[in-house]
Structures are given as structure tokens and as C-alpha cells.
């Protein structure tokens, strides 16, 4: 068990040192076998992970990778969770959350049919938004910029579709205000990251 965990930690350390410090990752991995023989693989592996983390933060490329992970884990995944939550909660709360111009949570009888008919589409769009955010997070961590652009465009298109549905069928855009704000923050953060990466790749390497 400890050996398996230690190997997993070692693999993670090795992954953190990809790029300019790859040879150091290989060096640590090779010494890991000596630590296994010595009966101290876990302490060694954790130490290597700490060393890898320090090396990552110490280098521009590493800092950018950490920023990508922070954006993916700290912003995109929570937003994806919110989208899924919206999709799951929508059939139950259609009347109150997207019910349009009504008061007290009562569903407008004139809009009830269109709202109920629109619910599956809205659920699909929200699920699509959630899935697109997960894919965007993955593409960002992988630094796959064409896919980042594709998923960003998909999220933008899905948000516009959602706004149209909510505006035309529900006569109420208020539930989407937070959605649009989230999208704005997210796109601004991604653009900033892309810009940082573009700057880094155009400048000569300097730790």
C-alpha cells in the first residue's frame, strides 16, 4: 500500500518536473529504487514532490503551469459544478427560478406550457455548459490553446442560446445575470492566461 502510494507520489513529482527540469525528474525517479530498497520510499517520494513543487514555482514555465491549475481548479471546476447544479435543479424549480414575470413563486398560467416545454432544452444547454467547462479546464491544464478557444466559443454560444431561451420563452433574464457575469470573469481570466503564455513564449527563457 505504502509502496503504491509512494510510486504515485513519485510519478506526480516526475510530472511536475516535465520540461526544462525533466532530467532532474528522471534522476529522482532512478534514486527512488534505492529508497525502496532502503525501506523509505514514502519519505523520499514526498521530499521529491516538495522539491518538484519548489522547482516549478521557481521557473517561469512552472509558475504558468501552477496558474493554469489554479484557474482550472479554483474557477472553472466550481463554475462547471454550478452549471450541473442548475441543470439538476431546473425541472423542480422551473416555476420559481425561470418563471418569468410572476410573483411569489407562482407559475404564470399563460407561460406554463412554453416553460415546461422548454425545460428539457434548458437542461440540455446547462449540462452542455457544465461539460464544456470541464473540457475547458482540461484543455487549459494541457495548454491545448486551439481546444481552449473551441470550448470558449462553445460556452459563449451556449450562454447566448440560454439567454435567448430565457428571454423569449420565460420573459425573464434575471436568472442569467449571474451566468453572464461568471462568463465575463472566466473569459477575462483565460484571456489573461493566454496572454501571459504568449508573452512567455515570445521572450527568451530566464528562470
Amino acid at each position: 500500500m505504502t509502496a503504491a502510494v509512494s510510486r504515485a507520489v513519485m510519478t506526480l513529482a516526475r510530472r511536475c518536473l516535465c520540461g526544462a527540469r525533466d532530467d532532474w525528474g528522471m534522476a529522482m525517479q532512478a534514486e527512488f529504487e534505492a529508497a525502496v530498497e532502503d525501506g523509505k520510499p514514502f519519505v523520499f517520494a514526498v521530499g521529491c514532490l516538495i522539491a518538484a513543487g519548489r522547482a516549478m514555482v521557481g521557473q517561469r514555465e512552472g509558475r504558468l503551469a501552477v496558474t493554469n491549475y489554479a484557474l482550472a481548479l479554483g474557477l472553472l471546476l466550481p463554475i462547471a459544478a454550478l452549471q450541473f447544479e442548475q441543470a439538476i435543479g431546473l425541472p423542480v424549480f422551473t416555476g420559481s427560478s425561470l418563471g418569468g414575470p410572476h410573483t411569489g413563486g407562482e407559475q404564470n398560467p399563460y407561460l406554463a406550457w412554453s416553460q415546461n416545454a422548454a425545460t428539457p432544452i434548458l437542461v440540455s444547454v446547462w449540462l452542455l455548459l457544465g461539460a464544456a467547462h470541464l473540457c475547458l479546464a482540461w484543455a487549459l491544464v494541457e495548454r491545448d490553446w486551439p481546444r481552449v478557444f473551441d470550448f470558449g466559443a462553445l460556452i459563449g454560444a451556449a450562454t447566448i442560446a440560454l439567454s435567448l431561451f430565457a428571454g423569449v420563452l420565460m420573459l425573464d433574464l434575471s436568472p442569467l445575470v449571474a451566468q453572464v457575469a461568471e462568463l465575463g470573469i472566466e473569459l477575462a481570466a483565460i484571456l489573461a492566461i493566454v496572454r501571459l503564455h504568449a508573452q512567455a513564449s515570445s521572450e527568451p527563457l530566464a528562470g
Partner: protein, 100 residues
């Protein structure tokens, strides 16, 4: 700038270990055992000292078949000079320290 600063205690320990046998190539794990430094301290130190030209590293074929190649380390001429410079100021704790 950084090279003019006084070496850290850990760096002095590593310099002391490496300067014991300046011509010998040492494995990372052996250095850990000799110096008592943990891998989280030793490897950043080795990376920094290699970047600063104090330590040189090489890949060596494994002694046992089926094992990966291992990195070995030793002091460069600059590293040996630094070890000589800092040694008198430090109380020598190891018996095998020979700055030659």
C-alpha cells in the same frame, strides 16, 4: 548576487560531503544518507548548485540490470574552490573532509 551570499547550512553540509572525495561521483541517495538531508532539501540544492556551476552531474549506467540509469554528482573546480573558502569558518564535523 546570490553567489556572494553566505552558503546555507544545508549547502555547507553538502559541500562538506562532496569535498570529502572530490574526484568521486556520488549518487543522490548516498548523499542523502551521508548528509542527513531529505530529498526535498537535497535536490533543490543540487539543482541550484548545478545551475551555479558548483556541481556537475552525469548519467551512469545502472549497476544492476533492469534498473534505470542514475544521476551522479561531484564538485566542479569552482565548487571545490568554494568548499575550500568556506571550510575554515565552519567547525569540521566529519572525519573524512579533505579539501583537495
Amino acid at each position: 548576487m546570490g553567489r556572494n551570499r553566505r552558503p546555507s547550512k544545508q549547502m555547507l553540509t553538502l559541500l562538506e560531503a562532496l569535498s570529502g572525495r572530490t574526484q568521486a561521483w556520488r549518487h543522490g541517495y548516498d548523499l542523502m544518507k551521508e548528509t542527513g538531508l531529505l530529498s526535498g532539501t537535497l535536490y533543490p540544492l543540487l539543482m541550484r548548485m548545478t545551475d551555479q556551476g558548483l556541481v556537475e552531474a552525469e548519467w551512469r549506467e545502472p549497476e544492476q540490470r533492469g534498473r534505470p540509469a542514475r544521476h551522479v554528482y561531484r564538485l566542479t573546480a569552482t565548487g571545490i574552490a568554494l568548499a575550500r573558502t568556506v571550510a575554515p569558518a565552519q567547525p569540521v564535523s566529519s572525519t573524512n573532509v579533505v579539501f583537495a
